[in-house]
């Protein structure tokens, strides 16, 4: 390869690397909490703040699978969480501290995962459609109802080929999966 072509190839690769994958992550970690104490968690259905009506359901399902796949914790069956929430007056996707404590007692869990999908959309850039998903997760311990971990992750879907060459992008479920997987890896690493 000639010397003149090498810089442009490197620039192209750098552009491709920037074009795909994740954006910045924000994270909070409680300095004194012992995470080894958490053996069993419940995932409260995530709140949907996006225009995509299925975004929260999709992310919740993926989150349950990713948490189980991590092998770090046991996860309560989502149907049982929904039923327990229905028994606690006023409980929803953003439970109060008291409601989290009640949920912990009802389900026998040490922590509850709550959160929201703040963005789930296919953004158009010229002729290319790029899915973008942003998920915000909180881990709340059930003795006091206080958050012990929180993180926000934003992922832009589609490979470099999709953006540079205008080929088909990935479905939004894949982008959501990568976003959720990154969050779970931050939590259980």
């Amino acid at each position: 390869m000639s010397r003149t072509k090498l810089p442009s190839l490197l620039a192209l690769l750098a552009l491709a690397a920037c074009a795909c994958g994740g954006l910045r992550t924000t994270q909070f970690l409680h300095p004194d909490f012992n995470f080894a104490f958490v053996e069993r968690v419940a995932v409260v259905p995530l709140e949907n703040l996006s225009d995509d009506t299925q975004a929260a359901t999709r992310a919740t399902r993926l989150l349950v699978t990713e948490l189980l796949a991590s092998g770090a914790v046991e996860v309560v069956e989502p149907g049982e969480v929904r039923a327990a929430l229905a028994r606690i007056p006023g409980a929803g996707p953003t439970p109060s501290s008291e409601q989290v404590v009640a949920l912990g007692k009802a389900l026998g869990v040490q922590a509850v995962v709550t959160g929201s999908v703040t963005q789930s959309e296919n953004m158009r850039s010229g002729t290319v459609v790029v899915p973008v998903v942003t998920v915000d997760l909180h881990l709340v311990e059930t003795e006091s109802g206080q958050p012990v971990w929180a993180a926000t992750e934003s992922v832009r879907g589609g490979g470099a080929g999709a953006k540079l060459l205008g080929t088909g992008g990935e479905p939004i479920s894949e982008t959501t999966r990568r976003c959720v997987r990154r969050l779970v890896r931050r939590l259980v690493r």
């Binding site: 046991e74 039923a83 939004i172 999966r177």
Partner: protein, 349 residues
């Protein structure tokens, strides 16, 4: 529990002729193509009953109408027993046409179950999918352009699968790689799983969610059956869900789980979620893209004993000259479900 069920259902259906033959129930058409549905029905009838059916088809339809039995898979065995008594049948073959495309590439996706009225278990479950490109050879030979021909061939294959009692079937040579990132609490085997109830999958796909949910539910039944897992009659499951007044899809609360445990001889529950289901059927060379997850729960304590998910495109691992490319969404979903269920029950996939 099985003896109790047999006695209970035996009381409901005291006399079933010992030599009672089978009956082909009217096909459930979810594709919106009644002409192809009729072709499938005719092909199944010819294959299953070459000497002619003992049960009169018109009489069967009338009896179903009288009993208000629309979807046989959601009918409790006691209602099926009543139907069996009226028409003099010993078992029912219930088929569903999930997908039928005529253009640009013909595609057919079929599922079927065999229901024995006096049994709490599902007797058999199968699934078959084909596209006109599946048998394509060099210079375009082997293409099937006529959707009717494809539908008849797929129906015959499904019927043969039942008649042979085949377990591995036609997809044995093309397997999706084992899933990575799954969760398994402890190694399980088909006998170790005991009786499994399949709760209908839910779907978070953009469009046609109900159809995707139905395809994956039927696929789960077929894949578990092929692995030798005992399956609870779907009608029993539907009856419990109906009695509990819940529209459970893809999840189950503790009370419904307990009710299911009491009302049916079930040890584990299997369910999941369709996350993405793109058939790509409008393309000249379809490239389906499917993602779904599934999990198994213990009935007595609600523990999730297994969870896994897969995402695949038809063009993944298509190899030289795209010989291994999968064109049909149903075919791809079938391979994926086989791989996932293989991870749960064990085996070679």
């Amino acid at each position: 529990m099985r003896v109790a069920w047999a006695l209970l259902l035996g009381l409901a259906a005291p006399v079933l002729a010992a030599d009672a033959g089978g009956a082909l129930l009217p096909i459930q058409d979810r594709s919106g193509d009644p002409a192809l549905a009729a072709e499938v029905q005719a092909a199944l009838r010819a294959r299953l009953f070459p000497q002619g059916e003992q049960v009169d088809a018109a009489g069967l339809r009338d009896a179903m109408r009288r009993l208000r039995l629309r979807d046989p898979l959601e009918a409790p065995p006691r209602l099926l027993a009543e139907l069996a008594r009226e028409v003099g049948a010993g078992w029912f073959f219930a088929a569903t046409l999930h997908q039928a495309n005529r253009e640009p590439v013909p595609q057919v996706t079929l599922a079927a179950q065999v229901l024995v009225p006096a049994e709490p278990d599902l007797a058999w479950a199968g699934f078959a999918c084909a596209t006109g490109l599946d048998g394509r050879k060099l210079l375009g030979r082997g293409l099937v352009e006529d959707a009717g021909e494809l539908a008849r061939g797929t129906a015959r294959r499904l019927a043969d699968d039942y008649l042979r009692g085949a377990r591995a079937g036609h997809f044995a040579t093309r397997r999706v790689p084992p899933a990575r990132g799954g969760y398994l609490r402890a190694p399980l085997s088909a006998p170790g799983l005991g009786a499994v109830a399949v709760i209908p999958f839910d779907a978070v796909t953009d469009r046609e969610a109900a159809q995707h949910s139905a395809v994956l539910t039927d696929l789960a039944l077929a894949a578990l059956h092929r692995r030798g897992v005992r399956l609870v009659h779907p009608g029993l499951v539907a009856e419990v869900l109906l009695q509990r007044g819940v529209q459970s899809r893809g999840e189950l609360d503790g009370l419904t789980r307990a009710a299911l445990g009491i009302a049916t001889p079930v040890d584990h529950i299997f369910t999941g979620t369709a996350e993405s289901y793109r058939s790509g059927a409008t393309s000249q060379v379809p490239d389906p893209w499917i993602a779904f997850s599934a999990r198994a729960l213990q009935v007595d304590n609600g523990h999730i004993v297994w969870a896994d998910g897969l995402e695949r495109r038809g063009s993944d691992g298509s190899g030289l000259l795209e010989r291994n490319r999968v064109h049909g969404a149903g075919c791809l979903a079938e391979q994926m479900m086989e791989a996932l269920v293989g991870g749960l029950v064990g085996g070679s996939s």
